[in-house]
Amino acid sequence: MSGRMGAAVGTVWRHRLFWPVLILVVLLLSNLIFTPSFFSVEMRNGHLYGSLIDIARFGAPLVLVALGMTLVIATGGIDLSVGAVVAISGALACLWISKQPDQNAVVGVLVAVGLALLLSLVLGVWNGFLVAAVGIQPIIATLILMVAGRGLAQLITDGQIITINSSPYKLIGGGYLFGLPFSILLALVMTLLAVLFTRRTALGMLIEAVGSNAEASRLSGIRSRRYTLLVYVFCALCAGIAGLMVSSNVSSADGNKAGLLIELDAILAVVIGGTLLTGGRFSLGGTVVGALIIQALSTTIYTIGVPPQTTLVFKAIVVTVVCLIQSPAFRAKFSRRGRPGRADPPARSVQQKVEVPA
């Protein structure tokens, strides 16, 4: 009996999500010291209200962007242009709605959303084309759109902040459905879809194959270019939806600052979630937890009142600790030093390419 229990605990301990989830829980619990009511969730004005809801709600765009980023990173690539795509998508949608005679018309909003997502797809195809067909290194290929995309977003908004007043559009990022924030539902649906397509079909394995060795997978009959293109398009689509959320949340499009540096947060979320930057195996669940950790960290900083001047140092320290804790190599070294003779089984450390990410 106790043996089985021990085995179960061991499995939990070994699970790749164990450390990220533990970190998230510790981060949330540490808030209780400063704000005893941190975990309270109540109904207010007919919708859920509380710090935990805030974390999920404001984390939703990051979750989306990081999902796309995970698949791109799984193929051994990286997409730096997601922040620009966030800005462009929001800008186009808000511009379209602002030109409508009736901003509350559902049809107009749907067209705006459709146009914005279509443009995001085109931008994704552009990135995928540069990487898969032209053969430019991903970091350079997506850097082009990262820089030029901001300009494009400013071109769309004419350098201004476009303010709109549209309740259907407001739903996407700031509204509620059955008392639940719509953005959380949207992020949840996208996550489930991504998991379904990568884990219930061969797609995930093929992406991992491309990431492990693109040439070898091509020689074994996988059309690796096609999958590379696909992940960049999916990543841009996710960023596009995130862009709609960000702009909808504040009913305005800011070409300059919307989604600024979100690419770095997304990469961090992927890394914290346990996906290696070298490509190959990936964990969508880990990425979602990673994104929530980053958002929980921001909310924690605001809630406990870390002075703005020290915010970045505080974040850096926490992120460094998080990255070290979830690195198997570091843990192995640490536990070996602390308790000699109880090192991880060698088979496991060989299987996972042990590296300290980031």
């Binding site: 400063f34 704000t35 009511s37 941190f38 207010r44 004005n45 209200y49 509380g50 710090s51 805030d54 404001f58 067909a133 032209v134 053969g135 400013q154 350098g159 201004q160 902040i161 303010t163 700031g174 960000v246 949340n249 504040v250 009913s251 305005s252 800011d254 300059n256 600052k257 919307a258 921001s298 909310t299 900083i301 605001y302 809630t303 406990i304 009142g305 002075p307 703005p308 001047q309 915010t311």
Partner: protein, 325 residues
């Protein structure tokens, strides 16, 4: 084949964009007639505020009969230095510019001085030790703006003896407006111990930042009386957070902000904000006055503060229809 074609296409794009950058030197002025020539280098067009600033300068130059050579630096210091050098080569009469950053201007300003072209700084200062490099600095006094916000608060709560809990949304950490607006505000309210800033975070001058931080404030502190936001945009973001918490902005939580852009003025007229301290971009006419004086060799004060006002809800209602930005 495809790869080569794409490479050619990309190279073509690069060349096209390069020539586009270098193309707008404009026809060289230098005709030394009665008309004063002013070379002006703007930061960029990053906000409605900045665009209004540009328009004000262009209109005022036209009205004052000054020949304006306008250059947009697109947020890059090297563009601005290039523009100033080109103004020197064109031998304009006066150079004015809003520095993108504070430091690194000594060399190019020295070149202007050696060529006897007076320089006026607008809106933002430089940190050069040698103040003889420029004639004057015209722009808003951010400390004064903070003080005005504080004075309104003191006046608003003069009959109350209870503690007043203030939440503050700061601008981008380290930026001059954020530092100065905080300093001016705390100086004024610091005189009375009943005013207490219970939460203060940066919202990066953006609506999204203001909303996110305010959401967290509302959960951590149940007793916020006043919100002081360093600009309208953060205040507008916070407004949504306050409404989402089932509170009435302007009543349950009073809001005072700085800037007075149109969206902010609308919120003020609707009674959702309580007070706005203006940070006016319309310094064109004052700038042209200075340009004329400097060109005529008259002495001008080293620091000129933009003419600015404050708005209550009633004043906002009256001023809103003709708000330019």
């Amino acid at each position: 084949m495809l790869r080569r074609a794409t490479a050619v296409l990309l190279a073509g794009l690069v060349v096209a964009s390069l020539s586009a950058c270098g193309g707008d030197e404009g026809d060289s002025g230098g005709a030394k007639d009665e008309k004063i020539t002013l070379g002006f280098s703007q930061v960029g067009a990053e906000s409605g505020w900045r665009t209004a600033n540009t328009t004000s300068i262009q209109d005022a130059a036209k009205a004052a009969g000054i020949d304006l050579k306008f250059s947009d630096a697109q947020q890059k210091q090297e563009n601005q230095i290039k523009a100033i050098r080109s103004f020197i080569q064109q031998r304009v009469d006066v150079i004015a510019f809003s520095p993108v950053v504070e430091s690194g201007w000594d060399t190019v300003l020295k070149e202007a001085k050696d060529n006897n072209i007076p320089v006026i700084l607008t809106d933002r200062a430089v940190d050069s030790k040698d103040t003889s490099l420029y004639k004057t600095f015209i722009g808003s006094d951010f400390v004064l703006e903070g003080k005005k916000a504080g004075e309104w608060l003191v006046e608003e709560y003069k009959d109350s003896t209870d503690q007043v809990n203030i939440a503050e949304l700061q601008g981008t950490t380290g930026s001059a407006p954020a530092i100065d607006r905080k300093q001016g505000f705390t100086e004024v309210i610091g005189a009375d111990p009943k005013f207490k800033i219970i939460a203060s975070q940066t919202g990066d001058f953006t609506r999204a930042g203001g909303k996110e931080v305010m959401e967290a404030f509302l959960k951590a502190h149940k007793d916020i009386d006043v919100l002081y936001a360093h600009n309208d945009d953060m205040g507008l973001g916070a407004l949504e957070a306050i409404e989402g918490a089932g509170l009435t902005p302007g009543k349950d939580i009073k809001i005072v902000t700085v800037d007075a852009v149109r969206d902010g003025m609308k919120a003020l007229a609707d009674g959702k904000f309580n007070y706005i301290v203006e940070c006016s971009p319309l310094l064109g006419p004052q700038l042209m006055e200075l340009v004329k004086k400097v060109d005529a060799g008259e002495t001008v004060p080293e620091r000129v503060v933009t003419e600015e006002t404050t708005f209550t809800q009633e004043q906002a209602k009256a001023a809103l229809p003709e708000r330019q930005y």
